[in-house]
C-alpha cells in the first residue's frame, strides 16, 4: 500500500506540481535548520539567566547577536540593506515569519518577543505604504544592526486605562485615552503614558499611537515614531512578570515630546487602521510563540518518557497523542492564517486564540503527566507554563479575539435577528 501511495505521489502529484499546502517549502525548511543551529549555539546556554534576571545588557547582547545574523532585518527590504524580498513574500506569505517565531519560542519565548516586538513596531511603517517613512528609518535600522547597538523598534498602543479598548473596535468607542498629540509648527507635541510596551526600554524607535482630538478618540488616532533620547520621552517602570522574562515590558512616559512631521506614520487619523492591520498580521505570530514554547515542553517530556520507559504505557501514549493532535491543529490554523493574503482578521484572531489556548492546555497537562518532576525548574516545563500564559493576554486577550471572530457577522446590523 505504501508503495502505491509513493508511486502515485511521484507520478501524479509531484509531476503536476502539486504540493502539500501545509508543508513548508524547502527554502523555509532550510531557513529553519539554520536558525535552529544558531539558537543552539548562541541562545540555548543563556536561557536560564535571561529568565531569572532583568539585565538589559544581557538582553541587548542576544539582540546584537541576532542582528548580526540578520534576524532583525528580515522585514527590511534588500534595497535598504535588509533581507526582505517581495518574491519570497509572494511565495510563502508570512510562513517564514511564523516558522522563525516558533523556533525562537521553542528556545525561549521571551527571546521570541524581543524580536517580535521589533517587527510589531515596524509593521505600521510598511502598512502606511509611504516610501518616505520607510526610507527615513529602514536604512538606519539596517546599518545599526551591523554595529554595537541594533536600532530596535517597539509598538505602543496600550495605556493604563485602555488595554482591550485599543484592540477592540466596539470598546474603542468609549476608550478612556490619556495619550494625546497636538499640532505645533513643524510637527506635534505628545503627552501621555503607555504601559506594558515590550522592549520599550531597549528600543531606539517607538511607534506610538496618540489621539489628536479628545472627543473623537481613536478615530483621530495617529501613529508617530519617537526616538529614544528625545527630550521629554522617558522610560518608567519595568514590570516584574510571571514569564517571558527575557523580554522587558516597560512603561513609556511622554511629557511635551516634540515629534517632527516627517516622523508621522501615514496621514492624520490613520492610526486605528494601522493598529488593526498590524495586529491582523502579527497575531498568527503570537500563536506561533505559544506553539513553540509548548512544542519544546512536549519534546522534553517525550524524551524523558522514552528514557523512563513510559512510552510503552497506553495511558502515556494516549495523553501525548492527544496533546500532539491539539498542537498540530493549532499549527495548521497558524499556518493557514500566515499564508492568507490579504490577512483575514477573523482567521488571524482564531489562530492566536486557538493556538495559545491549546498550548496552555498542553503545558498544564505535560506538567501533570510528569508530576512530580515536571514542576521543578530544571525539567524545563515550568518555564513554558509561565511563558505561554501571556500569549492568551497580549495582542488582544483571548476574549477579545473571540469577539473579533464574531465581528464580520455584525456588519449588517448586528444585534437584529437574521
Amino acid at each position: 500500500m505504501a508503495d502505491v501511495y509513493s508511486w502515485l505521489g511521484r507520478k501524479m502529484f509531484a509531476k503536476k506540481g502539486w504540493r502539500d499546502p501545509l508543508k513548508a517549502p524547502r527554502a523555509v525548511e532550510r531557513f529553519r535548520a539554520d536558525l535552529r543551529e544558531w539558537l543552539q549555539r548562541e541562545v540555548a546556554g543563556d536561557v536560564d539567566r535571561l529568565d531569572q534576571a532583568h539585565e538589559e545588557a544581557h538582553q541587548m547582547e542576544v539582540l546584537r547577536k541576532g542582528a548580526r545574523a540578520g534576524w532583525l532585518t528580515l522585514l527590511v527590504p534588500t534595497r535598504y540593506g535588509g533581507e526582505f524580498r517581495l518574491m519570497d513574500f509572494f511565495r510563502h506569505g508570512l510562513l517564514k515569519g511564523v516558522v522563525f517565531t516558533e523556533e525562537l519560542a521553542a528556545a525561549c519565548s521571551g527571546v521570541a518577543v524581543l524580536y517580535g516586538a521589533h517587527t510589531l513596531g515596524l509593521l505600521p511603517l510598511f502598512l502606511s505604504f509611504d516610501p518616505k517613512i520607510l526610507k527615513k528609518f529602514l536604512p538606519e535600522v539596517a546599518k545599526s544592526c551591523r554595529g554595537e547597538r541594533p536600532g530596535l523598534f517597539a509598538f505602543a498602543i496600550t495605556e493604563p486605562s485602555a488595554g482591550s479598548d485599543v484592540e477592540d473596535p466596539e470598546g474603542s468607542k468609549g476608550a478612556r485615552l490619556t495619550t494625546f498629540a497636538r499640532r505645533k509648527d513643524g510637527g506635534y507635541v505628545l503627552n501621555g503614558r503607555k504601559c506594558f510596551i515590550s522592549g520599550g526600554n531597549l528600543a531606539e524607535f517607538v511607534t506610538v499611537f496618540a489621539a489628536l482630538d479628545k472627543a473623537r478618540g481613536v478615530e483621530s488616532w495617529t501613529a508617530f515614531v519617537v526616538r529614544r533620547g528625545t527630550p521629554g520621552f522617558s522610560v518608567g517602570r519595568i514590570e516584574d512578570k510571571m514569564g517571558q522574562r527575557a523580554s522587558p515590558a516597560a512603561e513609556l512616559i511622554f511629557e511635551d515630546v516634540f515629534v517632527p512631521d516627517d516622523h508621522r506614520v501615514g496621514p492624520e487619523g490613520d492610526g486605528w487602521r494601522l493598529n488593526q492591520q498590524t495586529l491582523d498580521l502579527s497575531r498568527p505570530g503570537v500563536g506561533a510563540i505559544a506553539l513553540g514554547a509548548a512544542r519544546s515542553a512536549f519534546e522534553k517530556t517525550l524524551a524523558w518518557a522514552r528514557g523512563q520507559g513510559h512510552l510503552s504505557d497506553r495511558l502515556w501514549q494516549h495523553e501525548l497523542g492527544d496533546i500532539a493532535m491539539k498542537l498540530e491543529a493549532g499549527r495548521t490554523l497558524v499556518w493557514r492564517a500566515a499564508v492568507t493574503f490579504p490577512p483575514d482578521p477573523a482567521l488571524s484572531a482564531m489562530s492566536k486564540c486557538f493556538a495559545s489556548d491549546v498550548a496552555m492546555e498542553a503545558c498544564s497537562r505535560l506538567i501533570d503527566l510528569t508530576a512530580p518532576f515536571g514542576a521543578a525548574r530544571p525539567f524545563g516545563l515550568e518555564k513554558a507554563y509561565r511563558d505561554v500564559k501571556l500569549t492568551q493576554i497580549y495582542e488582544g486577550t483571548n476574549q477579545i479575539q473571540r469577539l473579533k471572530i464574531a465581528e464580520p457577522w455584525l456588519a449588517d446590523g448586528g444585534g437584529a435577528s437574521a
Binding site: 470598546g171 501533570d368 514542576a375 521543578a376 509561565r386 493576554i393 497580549y394 486577550t397 476574549q399
Partner: protein
Amino acid sequence: MTQEAVFDEVARSVGQLTRAELPGRLARLDSPASAEAWQDLAPVLARYGLDVRPETRALLAEPRATARILGAVAQECAGVASALWADYAAWLPFLLAGAEGVCESDGGGCPGSVGYMAGGTLRLAREADGWRLSGRIGLAFGASASRELTVYAESESEGAFVRIAMNGAGEPEDNLGLRACRLRPGLEVDHTVVGPKILVQSLDGARVLRRRCESIALGWLATIAAANGRAALRGAQAYAGERYQGGGLLAQNPVIRHLLGSAEMRVEAAACLAEHALEQTESGKLPTLAKVFATQMGEQVCLDAIQCLGGYGYMRDYGLEKRARDAKTLCTLAGSNVHLLAEAGGSAEEVAPRG
C-alpha cells in the same frame, strides 16, 4: 458550642493570623531564600498554636478541623499551607494511633519542621537494638526549612511509620510554585532507628492506617487547592468591580460575568467535594477524586482570574500569578493527577453518596 462552630472559630482566628502575618512575607517565601523566611515565620505560627503541641493534638487529629486551618492559611499563601500540610500529614499517623511517645519525643513540632513521607516504601527489619530501615526515597516534600521526614516502611509482618532526619537528601529543587516548600530528590536510607521515633504495627493495621492517612492528606490538599482558587477568584471579582473597559465596568460585562460565574461554580464544587471527601476518609477513592478535581479546578480558576485582570494579572505585584503557579504545583503533589485518576477508575470501590 457545636463542633462546626469550633471549627469556624479556629478558621476565623487562623485567618486573622495569616492576614496579619503573611502578606509582608510572601515575596521572600516565594523565593529561593524561603528557608530563611521560615526561620522567623515558624515561631509566629507556633505562637498561634499551629504547631503540634499537646493542646492542639486533639484538634489536629480531627481532619475537618485541620482542613479549616489549612484552608484559612491557603487563602493567604498556598505555599505555607502546603508546608503545614506536609507537617500535619507527617504527624497524623502518630496522632491517629495515639502514639504519644513519638509526639512527645521533641515536645511537639515546630511548624514546618517535618516533611511528609515520599513516594515508595522502605524496607523494615527487626534488629537486636532496634529497627533497621533501608531503601531509597524518591522525593521528600516539606517546608523549605524542614529537617525531618516521616517515612513508611514494611517488613514481612509489620508496617511502621518512622521519623528520620533529612540529612543526605539531594539539593532542594526550585519549583514552579509552592516555593515556601522544598522538594528534595533522592534520599538513601540505611540506618537503625531506636526509641520513640517509630510506630510499629501489624502489616494489615499499618496498611489501613497508611491508607487512611493518605486519604486525609488528599482531602486536605483538595481543601488547599479550593481555598487558593477561591482567594484568586475574590481578587478577580474585586478587580472587575473597579476596572472600566469596553464601555463599562468589567463586572457589568457579560463575557467577564460568565468567566467569573464559571470560576465560582468550579471553586464551590471543588470545596464541596473536598469536604465530602474528608467525611469519608475510610474510602480511598473519594479523596483521590477530590484531590484531582479540586487541584484541576483550582488551577483553572487561578488562570481565569489572571485572565480577568488582563496584563495586570500577569504581573507579580497583583499576586494572582503566584496563585496560579501554586495551583499548578498542587496538581503535582501526592501523585500525578493523570495516574491518580487512572488508579481511581480501576478501583471497584463504590463511593457513598453524601448525607
